[in-house]
């Protein structure tokens, strides 16, 4: 009897603990809602301009965007970068490579001279597309086997598959110039829809820099010294101040439509040599995020 009472009292105490614990959890649900401040509700999209520069890079083929998610601490990333370079040799102008330095693999330390190639949008894309273990590649931001990321060993096969199956919906013609007087890059685009497109599209204008020398960890002697390459050359590095997810076309565009847009991009102060920069423009399906066309142009002064 005494034991029974003791057990009942113990159980009640336990129950009370459970109730209090649950009551403690309740406010967590309330705070788990986002509050957008007034000045963030409608964000002005800077960089759209009426200023133009002549179109010099025209496009008439379906191109493929390979995003190489990488970081200086990623010991297998030199292998992936070498693969990307090899694929450029194979596919030529049909392939556009963009190196997105992201995740903890790209965070700066004194041992890499605090060089930080990360960008705000690169970090977001890494999360959105599940690029947590590097190297990881995205090909036209298309899911393959339920995931966006593709290992560098399969890049070639997937690029081939994309080139042979991707419907050629549009072309992007480009002009770009560095405006030294106000330290901005002026980009003009002509987006020619070759077929009816039933969904809205967005345009992304980014700057890549090549030929940057720095520190890279490495585990394979085929690609340089191990465990570290002191004078590694970083190419196609995605830089800051890109214009991401800007509106290009409404819900439906008919065949033959040309949408011309012009942008002014603030030059990223980390850029070391503007002459080694290219402007990459890619258009995505607003709903799926899939890349439907990409083009690049080397920057002229």
């Amino acid at each position: 009897m005494v034991i029974d009472k003791w057990l009942i009292s113990k159980t009640k105490k336990k129950m009370k603990k459970i109730i209090y614990s649950l009551l403690f959890i309740l406010p967590l649900f309330w705070v788990s809602c986002d509050k957008i401040e007034d000045d963030e509700k409608l964000v002005y999209l800077k960089g759209i301009t009426t200023e133009t520069t002549p179109i010099t890079e025209t496009n008439s083929i379906q191109r493929v965007l390979l995003e190489d998610y990488t970081g200086w601490k990623c010991v297998n990333c030199p292998r992936a970068a070498a693969k990307a370079t090899e694929l450029i040799g194979t596919y030529g102008e049909q392939l556009v490579v963009m190196a997105v330095h992201s995740t903890a693999f790209a965070s700066p330390l004194a041992s890499n001279n605090n060089v930080d190639f990360r960008t705000e949008y690169g970090e977001k894309w890494a999360v959105d597309f599940g690029c947590s273990s590097l190297p990881a590649g995205l090909i036209n931001r298309t899911k393959v086997g339920g995931a966006y990321t593709i290992g560098d060993a399969n890049w070639d096969t997937q690029i081939q598959s994309t080139i042979s199956t991707k419907e050629h919906l549009m072309d992007i013609n480009l002009g770009a110039v560095y405006k030294e007087s106000y330290n901005k890059i002026l980009v003009s685009t002509e987006n020619v829809f070759l077929k009816d497109v039933s969904y809205s599209t967005q345009i992304n204008v980014v700057v890549l820099e090549s030929g940057i020398v720095g520190v890279q960890l490495n585990s394979n002697t085929d690609y340089g010294t191990t465990p570290k390459i002191e004078d590694y050359v970083f190419n196609h590095v995605l830089r800051k101040n890109g214009l991401i997810g800007y509106p290009l076309s409404d819900s439906a565009v008919s065949k033959g439509t040309t949408v011309s847009t012009n942008y002014l991009i603030d030059v990223d102060t980390d850029i070391q040599d503007i002459s080694k920069c290219t402007v990459v423009v890619f258009v995505t399906n607003s709903s799926t995020g899939e890349v439907i066309q990409v083009n690049q142009i080397h920057l002229s002064e």
């Binding site: 649950l22 809602c33 409608l42």
Partner: protein, 565 residues
């Protein structure tokens, strides 16, 4: 196909095992099939049905064994009958779950329906007549740690036709917790009090991945991007009280910023209040209810505008009518803003009195009114619209200028003799077409009458029904002018029945004075029932609990089979 074979095997096995008792448990189930064959009829606007025959069907199978239960529902829309969304086309396992109770916990995995309080911030339910099913798919835990205390936790995604909601980020993840405490159970000194008090509170949050929307100022060419919150939270508190014949049910809910397609992508926070008070004694029942809804469309996908993916339910405060002409101008809940009241009085005139007569008389008086809420618009965005702004401010107690719906109706039910029973009903309705999205159309004012006599003839019965709708207004193509409806229904021993009815739009001054005749015959044995009808169905709107769907016109056969075991 493999799935179908598996399901058929399961059903067959379950039925076969029923008589033996499956592992000592019990198998129950039900079935319904609706078949429609409609032909083109330009007079009533019935469109050609390419398939010639359409069918909706479902079967529920439930296995229970002590504290364990598991079940499934197989649904088939081959192809969906008229008025149901074509996205239902197909067949498959739409609902499956397993649940068990152990000590103070009850765990459910798979699909489930649930409601927090009055449903202001969370209600998962299905309404087959509306083609509405927002069943959750995920996990539910109910803890009853002590008598009078219940805590519910839910997580999952909602059904969207046949879509694999887990394969896409397009469908939001719903999380919620609800707690309810009966003070009479928890406080010992309060346990025998005639005053019964139950307190409750709930929180719900939906994770809906941000999507991209732009606003373009056409004059300057400037572009703006809308920032959408990804976690949209809501909370509610409620109280239920009863004291002898009196009862009170009140709930207040708030919803955080939720710019969505229904509210025009504004950031105004949502709010809902509901209060219902009643008195019930022998021969008298009184209930008065009021509500205020302000921007409370709450869906697990911000771009959704239809009946699917609703997280919450906003109770309707109007009478649900069974007579078809009374339901011609239905009430639809205004999720973006509405204030409503309803009063019900039920009184029974005693037997053997002057007014009550030999058998007594039942009187039901109902009044309801739905109005807009006060809205003071804020400054527009640079493009001249309200998208991306707070939209408006609203004073809680201030009623808006627009009336959406108003009705007063009286129903008298009287048994005249041993063999005759009379039901009479009258309603005066004011209907604003804007309430179902038709802005700028004239109000409809309608007087509606119904007289319904049931005559018993030994084991058989005969029912005569006459309805009349009088209005000077014409609303759309399906509700023009005056209507009259007559119905004759013969019931043979509770097994067979035959009915004939005609709904005649005799007051239509702009089009055909169409007769919508209908003949039906049915047979019931035990829990099985078969009914076949032939006739014309007018285009209209069906609303249940303030949620509505369009019913297109049809002309042809309609058959229904229902069964349960």
């Amino acid at each position: 196909m493999k799935k179908i074979i598996l399901i058929i095997s399961f059903v067959a096995f379950s039925i076969n095992s029923y008589s033996q008792g499956l592992f000592g448990g019990k198998v129950t189930g039900n079935f319904q099939m609706d078949v429609q064959a409609s032909r083109e009829d330009s007079v009533i606007g019935a469109e050609k049905v390419n398939e010639k025959m359409l069918m909706n069907a479902f079967t529920n199978i439930l296995y229970t064994n002590g504290d364990f239960s598991a079940g499934m529902r197989f649904e088939a829309y081959l192809n969906p009958i008229l008025g149901f969304d074509s996205q239902y086309k197909g067949a498959g396992l739409a609902y499956r779950f397993a649940s068990y109770k152990k000590d103070f916990l009850e765990i459910t995995a798979g699909n489930y329906y649930e409601q927090f309080g009055n449903g202001l911030i969370f209600r998962s339910y299905e309404e087959k007549n509306l083609g509405l099913d927002n069943a959750m798919d995920g996990l539910k835990v109910i803890a009853r740690p002590m008598e009078g205390v219940a805590i519910k936790g839910i997580i999952g995604k909602q059904r969207y036709y046949w879509e694999d909601v887990w394969a896409s980020d397009d469908f939001g993840l719903v999380r919620g917790i609800d707690g309810e405490v009966s003070l009479n159970s928890v406080i010992k000194s309060f346990s025998s009090s005639p005053l019964q008090v139950t307190l409750g509170g709930s929180f719900v949050s939906v994770y809906d991945k941000a999507d991209t929307r732009f606003i373009i100022d056409q004059q300057t060419g400037n572009n703006y991007k809308l920032t959408t919150p990804e976690n949209i939270g809501s909370g509610a508190a409620r109280i239920q009280m009863s004291y002898n014949a009196w009862n009170l049910n009140a709930e207040y809910a708030r919803k955080g910023q939720d710019p969505n397609a229904v509210n025009g992508y504004i950031f105004h926070e949502g709010e809902a209040a509901y209060v219902s008070a009643g008195y019930s004694a022998k021969g008298l029942g009184i209930n008065v209810a009021a509500k205020r809804i302000d921007n409370m469309s709450y869906k697990s996908r911000r771009s959704e505008t239809g009946n699917m993916l609703n997280i919450n339910y906003l109770p309707a405060l109007t009478r649900q009518h069974a007579y078809s002409l009374f339901a011609m101008y239905p009430y639809a809940t205004q999720v973006n803003g509405e204030m409503g009241i309803q009063a019900d009085i039920m009184y029974k005139l005693k037997k053997k009195t002057f007014l009550g007569g030999e058998y007594g008389t039942d009187l039901k008086l109902n009044y309801s009114r739905a109005m807009s809420i006060d809205k003071q618009l804020v400054a527009t965005n640079p493009a001249g619209s309200y998208e991306g702004t707070n939209g408006y401010t609203s004073s809680f107690f201030k009623v808006g200028d627009d009336i959406y719906f108003e009705e007063i109706n009286l129903e008298i039910s009287k048994k005249i003799s041993h063999d005759f029973k009379l039901n009479f009903m009258y309603s005066y309705q004011t209907f604003n077409p804007i309430a179902i999205g038709h802005e700028g159309e004239e109000f409809v004012y309608a007087n509606v009458f119904a007289a319904d006599v049931t005559q018993k003839m030994n084991k058989n019965s005969l029912r005569y029904e006459l309805q009349l709708l009088l209005t000077e207004q014409n609303y759309g193509e399906w509700a023009t002018g005056n209507w009259i409806q007559g119905t004759l229904e013969y019931n043979l021993g509770g097994r067979w029945f035959a009915a004939a009815s005609d709904q005649w739009n005799y007051g239509n001054e702009t089009g055909e004075k169409t007769h919508y005749y209908n003949f039906s015959i049915g047979y019931t044995k035990g829990t099985n029932r078969i009914q076949i009808s032939y006739g014309k169905q007018r285009e209209g709107i069906i609303c249940i609990g303030g949620v509505c769907r369009m019913v297109p016109a049809s002309n042809g056969l309609f058959a229904t089979i229902t069964s349960s075991f």
